[in-house]
Symmetry: D2
Subunit: 278 residues, 4 copies
């Protein structure tokens, strides 16, 4: 007996729950948890079921696809560890939080490597017996540098997610397309406020009383991919922008780790630049 996550993304029509659950019933599967959501406006149906039983994955997938409308997506996933690569630049907090959670067994993930444009974090990362790959951008054009980064990533097989743990270089559309739907970023701001550079300085200048962080998938528009998680903390007049930045780190690491956990547990569906999260 094994556990499987059945992930369905379909155009909505009457009877989908009935039809899918009848297949589960006929295969004598035990439903451990079941979440559905219908977006009436866009007529989209999403379902995530965790089932327990003996199945042939390919057969079950085919059987479910057969009863769904066209252009549906069915994934049947075992709850195994996923392979992730972390990218970072100079800051330790978000990367460190992921490494500690990994060490503590909190994450369903193998960390294949940390890739950075600096070697500053190498001695830290190497404590954890995780490969650290420095791809310096010095003297390289953006596209050349990115080619080398892509090569470094592609030297690993079956990469499920690329986690940008405060990787501070802008990614080109080529990079994003190469790893479509696989890149999770932490933006050091409560998006869509303070898009772009130094959001803490922007937030300070605006005199805000709350600062936040946003984890999102990366698409081709900077800071505009589908949002996975957001969190905020209160600040006051005594916070200069560097104090905001310092406090912001605590939110950033919490939000990024939360988003990563959701991704690793296959809880996120993406459509229309938004996410459904079960």
């Amino acid at each position: 007996m094994a556990q499987y996550r059945v992930l369905i993304d379909a155009n909505d029509e009457k009877g989908l729950v009935y039809k899918v659950s009848s297949i589960f019933y006929n295969h004598n599967l035990n439903i451990l948890s079941n979440s559905e959501f219908v977006d009436k406006e866009s007529n989209k149906f999403f379902m995530r079921s965790v089932v327990d039983g003996e199945i042939n994955k390919a057969d079950l997938k085919n059987e479910i696809e057969a009863i769904l409308p066209e252009n549906s997506s069915v994934k049947i996933v075992e709850p195994n560890k996923k392979n992730i690569i972390i990218m970072a630049t100079k800051e330790l907090h978000a990367l460190g939080d992921i490494l500690i959670r990994h060490e503590a067994g909190e994450l369903e993930a193998n960390i294949l490597a940390v890739v950075s444009n600096y070697d500053l974090l190498e001695s830290f990362v190497s404590k954890f017996d995780i490969p650290y790959i420095t791809v310096s951008h010095v003297g390289l054009e953006r596209s050349e540098h990115e080619t080398k980064i892509i090569e470094a990533i592609n030297s690993f097989e079956n990469v499920d997610y690329i986690v940008l743990a405060k990787y501070m270089r802008i990614l080109t559309p080529r990079f994003v397309e190469t790893f479509e739907d696989k890149i999770i970023n932490i933006h050091h701001s409560f998006l869509p406020a303070f898009i772009g550079a130094n959001p803490y300085k922007q937030a300070y200048d605006r005199g805000v009383k709350i600062i936040g962080a946003t984890a999102h998938f990366v698409n081709n528009n900077l800071d505009e991919g589908p949002i996975i998680a957001q969190e905020v903390i209160h600040v006051n007049h005594a916070y200069g922008w560097k104090d905001m930045q310092r406090s912001g780190k605590d939110v950033e690491k919490v939000v990024l780790s939360r988003a990563l956990k959701l991704a690793l547990e296959d809880r996120i569906f993406v459509y229309a630049n938004r996410t459904v999260i079960f």
Copy 2:
């Protein structure tokens, strides 16, 4: 075409989602939203579906009951306004918040009356054209007083919920049994901390940095019924216990109104002194 809420509380067994959704499908019902939860430990299954279609309520109920295990409960509820009675003592904030929401059309409720042991709130309540019934406890034994309160409540028909909006008298088991599963209370504390009298004084003495409020159904053990909603706010050393009390009012009214809204929308299931909330 009308909307119905189908509420199922059953012992879990394989196929319940399939069987219930097949009935919906056969009746050509449109599922607007669907929530299920299985408590593996106690083997309990809960389901709340909002469906749209033409049905005979009694027939549908029978049909669903027929496919469920014994001792199951099925309710089919139309999204009509429920009848509530509010009980209060001297404080305005929680009562006032409900009256304003009622006035603003935010609540699916008819407020039949406000019942109090004082007449202090009468002029306020009467602004809203809601009957105000004073049942003074002066000179009465607790049981006599409660008999009169029960009579006042029973002078209304079809009372769905009794909302204790800072009603500061202890209720006896007789009262609770008379209105079983119908009494919603706001406790001015983050239960189970600070049970009993003057929780803000207790909280102050303990030097807490957070205070909270708890909305719960009332059962026979004071402050121990199933919790519906809780919320907190941060305080600091500058708060005396009266400041805590003052700030606490804001949490109390938010939490009570939230719990009431959940009840009015039939989103709460109760079992084993806990709640499932969809």
Copy 3:
């Protein structure tokens, strides 16, 4: 013996706390609470002291001014009720929350009137024996309408604050200048995200996981005055924009009432488009 709030806004220099507190000491005043803040970057000093004793307000003010750098501001305020006018359009929740707090004695304020461009809220407001003035904008140019609003407000004396409790018309620079530093607005968004019309629709389209509200003083740039208070709530994929709007109301009323309370207690200093809040 009476209580006074001493409010100082000055360019910073060494010895200000010493010099001010020596004056308090020489007058034999009891300091009930004392807050100071220095913004090093802009070299600004702010102080709010609550003192208890017998003073001549004008003399004390002169004495303090004499020891402060040029261009300083000193206010000595008794903790009396301030006079406020509330402006609203069609929505009840934020206005209602203020009226209930007023009724419950939670606000240090006299509500002189509610001014609206519709008569929709009149029957509600009149329950509270508060004058309701409808100034319809129908058939009027913006400036004509605003002239009439200003006249309505100016028919009252000593107006301390104008509270925009979801007043949905844009105000011109003339209005803002007429009541400079006196207008408090609730913006139904977590500023600076979603400036302008229908922020809930904007927030929904962006797929955010948090929505918020911002109370701020109004200056000439729409939605850009100094922020007083902000708060947020979490939302998820099941929230359509109308659900966000509905939930947003709860944040709006909390934030507006919190900002109003801070203003009534003379806890807000404004400089450089930001606020210091003691």
Copy 4:
């Protein structure tokens, strides 16, 4: 020119701010920040000033003490790193968060050692070049074991704080007295709810909708020392007690690190089993 923190704890009387600030003024000190609090009920005065200038610490301390009432305490502290020892048992999350912050330069602390009753965390801690001392309790009476722990701690000099990062053994009064006012604990619960063993199981059984964590100084009554920081997260019916425990870890580490930071920055005053935090 150097920075100093002046920490005053005195019985309140008129003129304290004046007298202290006059001393600062006479020494030509620059006040970088200044916080005062008077607890009227207990007549206690607290002040924390950060000043900048050239002083003789002992002289300044004497001078301030001379103008304070009897039984006052004055400390003048340079913002140097403090020496801490961390105690842990089996869990990594709270310890790991401190180590990462230390590594990232976020903490004003030297970590002298980690002391544990198990060797489970040794390989992890040794990555960070921090001494790990296992003092097994196996085969020892509580007092014998504690004697060895005390010896291990006392093998280091100038220990400022002992941080219990999920150290799961009960400490005796002897231990607490040995390190009076120096022990910071994280209690995996929102105190005073769920005192004692397995608070997550208790919380689950009670059906709470919020769980929390409390950082506090340790005194002789288990879980009853002065509270430094508290935080909560929302949970729902889908959380079993192990899910609560898992989520609770995130709150625990946040709260413990926050409390430790406050202690390292000399922001905490303790009196009457409560804390004043500037």
